[in-house]
């Protein structure tokens, strides 16, 4: 099976203890783990409301009826089965780095998919470039992990990124709100922040996982450089020295901070991962620490 060495057996066993976690309340069918503010047929009492014709008589609070001679219906907190979508950046900029960011992103996506499969979450893998690519629905338990690996293994990084177009297509295709995990370097020519804000405004809970290679953050070169954009092919000539490197890194960090603010201000989470970081450490350390997954 291609990609079988992305995650080893020991790592998978550790992943089985994890679960994807979201904070927002989503409507939906019962069967999930996270409580919602929406009322419905649950176990934990939430509120009373007036009885309407057609309501379930088993939820009528007969004690209140005896006291007030009015029919009140007990409303319970539901734990809905919220949809989980994982947007995976497959643009050309992801192939850079050592190791390539895309390899790291695929391994991370595989790990999160396994977590979702084990917890019987309805995960949809959505690669994207300038728009959404063909999707992969991961449901049905851990024995459906192999097709996920095959799907990820066939992906090749290419093309440009357009977050605005991706956000528009995503909203069109996936009407129901849910958890949205975005694995990307968030480096596009447009305004990715605006697109992410649009997705958050639509009601999705964002988990932004930003990947960068060391050369993305701290370029190791010096001197006269002829730079070529991996996605657009645009070229730039410049002299690069230690001062310029500091300015570059500061600009990069500022962008990361802007991403983090977009996520947190909308009730989401942000995790920045250098590709040199071990994947297991990234999942059980940074992702768990940020609350994207919980044990």
């Amino acid at each position: 099976m291609p990609g079988h060495d992305w995650v080893n057996q020991k790592f998978l066993e550790r992943l089985e203890r994890l679960a994807l976690r979201w904070r927002k309340s989503f409507p939906g069918l019962i069967g999930g783990r996270n409580a919602s503010h929406f009322g419905g047929p649950g176990m934990e009492f939430l509120d009373h409301r007036h009885f309407h014709y057609g309501d379930d008589l088993r939820a009528v609070n007969w004690r209140a009826y005896l006291r007030f001679e009015k029919l009140f219906l007990k409303v319970f907190r539901i734990e809905p089965h919220a949809p989980v979508r994982l947007l995976l950046d497959a643009s050309a900029s992801m192939e850079l780095g050592a190791p390539p960011k895309f390899d790291y992103a695929r391994r991370l996506a595989a790990a999160l998919s396994y977590v979702a499969l084990v917890r019987l979450d309805a995960l949809v893998l959505v690669p994207f470039r300038e728009g959404l690519e063909s999707v992969m629905r991961c449901v049905g338990g851990r024995h459906r992990f192999a097709p996920v690996i095959e799907f990820l293994a066939e992906l090749r990084p290419a093309g440009r990124t357009s977050f605005l177009e991706v956000a528009r297509q995503f909203v069109d295709r996936f009407a129901d709100r849910g958890l949205l995990v975005v694995i990307s370097d968030f480096l596009d020519e447009g305004d990715a922040l605006k697109a992410l804000q649009y997705l958050a405004d639509f009601g999705h809970e964002l988990v932004l996982i930003q990947l960068w290679s060391e050369q993305d953050r701290v370029p190791p070169w010096e001197g006269r450089l002829n730079l070529v954009d991996a996605e657009s092919g645009a070229a730039l000539e410049l002299d690069f020295d230690a001062t310029a490197r500091r300015q570059y890194t500061a600009a990069f960090d500022a962008y990361c901070e802007a991403l983090r603010r977009v996520a947190l201000s909308n009730g989401g989470r942000y995790v920045g991962l250098p590709t040199t970081l071990d994947l297991e450490e990234a999942v059980f350390g940074l992702l768990a620490g940020a609350g994207a997954v919980e044990a």
């Binding site: 050369q215 190791p220 001197g223 006269r224 002829n226 730079l227 996605e231 000539e237 410049l238």
Partner: protein
């Protein structure tokens, strides 16, 4: 440690030039590093305008270092770097083996060549196994038989395949060639000349320059030998059926010899001469042989001597082929003195009624007769009837004076008459290809028509005019026949000569086109200067020298034997070389150096090349971390 193919200065010079070129290329090509990045948005903020006069700097020192290392390793491989001290260095020797014709001479029970081969093998065994040896065969040409090699089996095989040639030794050329080879090599060894030392006499006048490190292994053999040096066969100009034969015999020994020289034609004895030959002298013997037929002529010296190849010469004689002239005339008796006196012409007279247009002949003569069908061979028309003449008759004249001969034409070459009056003649009108040969005041009376076939038309019967008393008449007929059938009058000469170079004096014949062809009709190169033709052949064969005047057949059937003996100067070493201790062969490193250079280039290409895989577009700063990571990725090392 030393370089075999390059001196240290050459190595350093090449390395310096290559390094300079490498740095220039780096400064031109890699001073601006091309990098592929995820985005340009942060770079724009960090961008600073390039300084306009900034000096070019090398950006990728490790890359330059790797390429320079590869260059140095390649140069060392080309220079054949060897491990070991200079004293243990192998030397390059040259064995010059005499393969001249004289080496085929037999002394006692074996030839000199066999003895020379044994000496060469003995010399080879005395040389250290690590020394490289080249075998050069020397006769009139100097031919390398092997390259410089340590392969003794290859050298033994080349020695065994060396055979006596047909030419004499040119020692000066052989030693000069060996000296050039010796100077061009790295660690020069000896030049070992193995042979009898018999050289051509002209080399005694210009002694060979003795190169350094020459050793002479003499093949001794005092022997008696007599042989044919030169044989010339030529037809008698007055009697073409008679061959004049001249043979030159030489006694190469130091004792007088009495030998019989026998001549045989077609296997039958045709002559014999007893020759008394003083030591180291030549004698000429003349024979004559009358025959018109073709056949093999053999000249053979009686008795046995050291070399049998020069005791006999076999030559092929061509048949005599005179011109067949068919004369249709009613006055054969008047024409007979004119035509039958030429020994190269065979005349047959017939009456005009017996005319046959397809009769077997070379030339037909029509005396006052015009046949119903024109002849298909060369023809001579004497006063043809005016109404059917091959040339239009303009008018008839009487008592006309022959005023002019066109002597520039071959038919009229050398002709001259004075106050020759023609009693009657017809003035002819020349056609387009006709050339007037003789003219009266009214116009031409003799025309020559070129083309195929040729024709000469007389407007008068020469024997009926005063021209029959002129010398010009037989000359005119001789010229006509030579013009019509030049091959029949051609010079025929057969020579037996020794192989090697030959000089032929062509005389007046060399003015026209000259061709030299072998029996297989292949052209042989030659030089022609002042009518002197020089050609060279190293093997026995028969060649034909074709000139406008005829054909010379040269049979290079006799061996070219040197007559003089070379005496080496006092400084030349003699005898087999002393046995040297077998040093351990020095280790040649060039394959490993070439592999290391290739590995350096491959590593440089992987780390810094433009076409390295996309996964390798990481940081190009050479660090142990990067190298170890790359090794882990490629599976060379395990983490």
């Amino acid at each position: 440690m030393s370089l075999l193919n390059l001196t240290l200065a050459q190595f350093l010079g090449l390395l310096g030039a290559g390094s300079a070129l490498l740095i220039v290329l780096y400064l031109l090509d890699r001073s601006r590093r091309r990098q592929r990045v995820s985005t340009l948005r942060f770079w724009v903020e960090a961008n600073r305008a390039p300084e306009t006069r900034r000096r070019r700097r090398i950006q990728q020192w490790p890359s330059l270092l790797l390429q320079w290392l590869a260059l140095a390793l390649l140069l060392a491989a080309l220079g054949d770097l060897r491990v070991g001290s200079r004293g243990q260095a192998s030397r390059d020797h040259i064995l010059v083996l005499d393969t001249s014709a004289w080496m085929g001479a037999r002394a006692a029970d074996r030839t000199l060549m066999v003895e020379a081969r044994e000496l060469a093998r003995a010399c080879l065994r005395r040389l250290p196994a690590g020394d490289r040896v080249m075998l050069v065969r020397a006769d009139a040409l100097t031919t390398p038989a092997t390259p410089f090699t340590e392969d003794r089996a290859l050298l033994e095989e080349a020695i065994a395949r060396s055979q006596p040639s047909a030419t004499a030794l040119r020692l000066g050329r052989a030693l000069a060639f060996a000296d050039r080879l010796r100077r061009s090599g790295g660690n020069a060894g000896e030049i070992v000349f193995i042979g009898s030392g018999r050289i051509a006499p002209e080399e005694l006048a210009q002694p060979a320059r003795i190169p350094d490190g020459l050793r002479f292994l003499e093949v001794r053999g005092e022997m008696d030998n007599c042989g044919l040096r030169h044989v010339v066969l030529r037809r008698d100009p007055q009697d073409p059926s008679l061959w004049r034969i001249l043979a030159r015999v030489r006694n190469y020994g130091r004792r007088p010899q009495f030998r019989r020289l026998r001549l045989a034609f077609g296997g039958s004895p045709a002559g014999e001469a007893v020759l008394s030959l003083p030591p180291d002298s030549e004698h000429e013997a003349a024979f004559s042989l009358r025959t018109q037929a073709a056949g093999w002529l053999e000249l053979r010296l009686s008795g046995r001597d050291a070399l049998a190849d020069d005791d006999a010469a076999v030559l092929e004689l061509p048949a005599l082929r005179p011109i067949r002239l068919l004369a249709y005339t009613r006055q054969p008796e008047s024409l007979r003195p004119l035509l039958a006196t030429n020994p190269w012409v065979r005349v047959e007279f017939r009456p005009p009624e017996a005319y046959d247009p397809v009769a077997a002949a070379d030339v037909v003569l029509l005396d006052q007769f015009c046949p119903p069908e024109l002849p298909r061979i060369h023809s001579v028309w004497l006063d043809p009837p005016a109404d059917r003449a091959p040339a239009a008759v303009r008018r008839s004249v009487s008592q006309a004076r022959l005023s002019r001969w066109r002597t520039e034409h071959p038919v009229a070459a050398g002709l001259r008459t004075r106050d020759l009056w023609l009693a009657s003649a017809r003035v002819l009108t020349p056609a387009q290809d006709d050339v007037p040969i003789a003219e009266v005041d009214a116009g031409p009376v003799i025309l020559a028509r070129a083309g195929r076939p040729k024709a000469v038309i007389f407007g008068f019967q020469p024997l009926a005019t005063a021209m029959r008393y002129e010398v010009a008449l037989p000359l005119l007929f001789a010229n006509m026949l030579r013009w019509m059938a030049p091959e029949a009058f051609g010079l025929q000469e057969v020579l037996a000569h020794s192989a090697g170079s030959l000089t032929l004096e062509l005389g007046e014949d060399g003015g026209g086109e000259v061709r030299v062809v072998t029996d297989g009709d292949h052209s042989l190169p030659f030089t022609l200067e002042r009518n002197r033709l020089e050609l060279f052949t190293s093997s026995p064969q028969q060649v034909r020298v074709l000139t406008s005047a005829g054909e010379r057949v040269v049979s290079f059937a006799l061996p070219e034997l040197a007559q003089a003996r070379w005496s080496p100067p006092a400084g030349v070493r003699r005898g087999l070389p002393p046995l040297r201790a077998q040093s351990s062969p020095r280790l040649g490193l060039w394959p490993w150096l070439a592999l290391a250079a290739g590995a350096c280039l491959w590593l440089e290409g992987r780390l810094y090349g433009r076409f390295r895989p996309a996964a390798a577009h990481g940081p190009t700063r050479l660090s142990w971390r990067a190298i170890s990571g790359w090794l882990r990725r490629t599976g060379v090392a395990r983490s």
